[in-house]
Subunit: 348 residues, 2 copies
Amino acid sequence: MRYVMVQIPKTPAPASPVPRSVPTSADVARLAGVSRATVSYVLNNTSAVRISEPTRRRVHEAAKELGYVPHAAARSLRAGHSRMVLMPAPSFPVGPLYHQFISDLQWELGRLDYTVVQYGAVGLQGDEAARSWAELRPVAVLVPGSGLGPKGVTVLKRSGARAVVTLGPESVEGAHALLMDHEAVGRCAATHLHARGRRRIGVVVPQEPGLESFSAPRLEGVRSALRGTAATVTELPLAYDEMSAARLAARWSERGLDAVFAYNDEYAMLLMRALQDEGVDIPGDTAVIGADDLMLGRLLRPRLTTVNLELPSGRDLAELVDRAVRDPGGAPETHKVLGASVVHRDSS
Amino acid sequence: MRYVMVQIPKTPAPASPVPRSVPTSADVARLAGVSRATVSYVLNNTSAVRISEPTRRRVHEAAKELGYVPHAAARSLRAGHSRMVLMPAPSFPVGPLYHQFISDLQWELGRLDYTVVQYGAVGLQGDEAARSWAELRPVAVLVPGSGLGPKGVTVLKRSGARAVVTLGPESVEGAHALLMDHEAVGRCAATHLHARGRRRIGVVVPQEPGLESFSAPRLEGVRSALRGTAATVTELPLAYDEMSAARLAARWSERGLDAVFAYNDEYAMLLMRALQDEGVDIPGDTAVIGADDLMLGRLLRPRLTTVNLELPSGRDLAELVDRAVRDPGGAPETHKVLGASVVHRDSS
DNA sequence: TTGAAAGCGATACCAG
DNA sequence: CTGGTATCGCTTTCAA
């Protein structure tokens, strides 16, 4: 049942009259009795020009009185460039790890005097999306996931973006790349399980949309790590709810799996609980390993073994962006930025 | 230890030459052999004017050849308004609930032809921040949390924002408000615990910064629900790590608490595990209740009792925004938008 | 020390 | 049907 918003009756609303028009620097100039140029000089503290103290005061007072706020679009139009770093808002559900990363990044870019803008470009696909980003004339674009093609990169560069950085599984021609090597996550998990004697290995693949670009390489990583061994790999579709987990667990013994890599800790916890409820002994009958090293994984019993992922520091990425902006001609850099390492606990 | 980005050696980079200048509609006009006006008509499908088919083709071809992308800032400068809905990126860590809400909202506003932009204004405080938002001349501003004062609202309105909506614990003069009544969450939890005979009630208060604006009202809600009863309320500071939880649990018996409301499910899970490790029986010795109704709370044993929060639908909020934009003179609406209800499981 | 004016890119009015 | 042109708000050169 959908929750319905309930309006609270209002005390006689003053309904503050909408100001007829937004004050411009011309209004400030008029009120202060100076020219627009002078206003600009004063408000921007232009050092190339000296303005008398009385004039400065008059301008500042006029600006305050009118509630003047400069118009960013007009300014950057005139300047011919902006310091906006655009980031399409990720369409997939992000975990705390990624959220922390974004926050850091915003902070660090802020320190370098960039302005970070997350753009909600829902509904547009690939090059369409790139076009709509280009309309904002950002100085740099940071694209998470794998939605950008070489064509999109060209569009962005042609429209003045001095740096295009992708943050995903593969690098794109012409753009800097932060390679999130999700295959390494799968390899890491698989190697661990194999080393501990497991041979019939299941891999959970979330059914939630938007996660394929992570789950597919993780699965492929498992496959590649086990290639040439006697171990088998079984794909296990799983939705993020208890029913789906129960269904999977109910027929567990039929599959004869002795280990499972569960995509991440959340799916791992879900599945582990369902298996335990079915009487499967963990890690005796089946080993379970997750990924992301969530705090909560340590709370289950047995404590969950996991693959710890280390994202690049926001600072490093901010510096990469800044470097690229300053030297747009430079060769695209490609960095591997997923430190994957097993944290062995009790579930494997 | 900080993970260091490793650069991968590049094959001889073609270092695509930066295009000398960004194509404008004038360039398109020149190439197509028409005037800028005609270009504008063609590319915007202006219906008030008929352009011959051959001309249209020439314009489209020229635009494609040059990779022309219109300049959003110039356009909105000329138009005198934009359809940008600005949302300061929340500074607090957001859960899956909130993330889903934002996604929905973006989608729904997109359907109404608005463009949602999350603005990373880290480091600025209150009215400073409002000023920097106003520079972007958004048509509407959606402010999560409690960082906006009446003064900020005025600044935004003066600079042309036709709707200002706050999404937080209290309403602000002049702005529409979506009241997230976190006190209700605390009241809900406290009432439940009290009804089940608990009298010495602890309330977890996270030590992580940025959460005060949620935790304080939740605590106050507990207090107000128990006012006039014999029950006592004890504040329990807790950081989100196992050590902190263990420390708290170690001295649990001294406190003689028979119930705890743990801020949310994550803190509840953390604390519950620590208590169990100390031999505290749940719910026998101490009842535990969380909030947010996370999937993972159902995985612990005993299953975690929680307060389910229902956020408004993105669609409702999108419609509120649209309504406000169309009728900026209308009285500010105030809606209560947190449906809080106890989900009773086994930990209480 | 201050002011006049050009121009950033796109659009819409009014003539032709 | 198409082209000139004024205009949005701001910065910055050049003159005064």
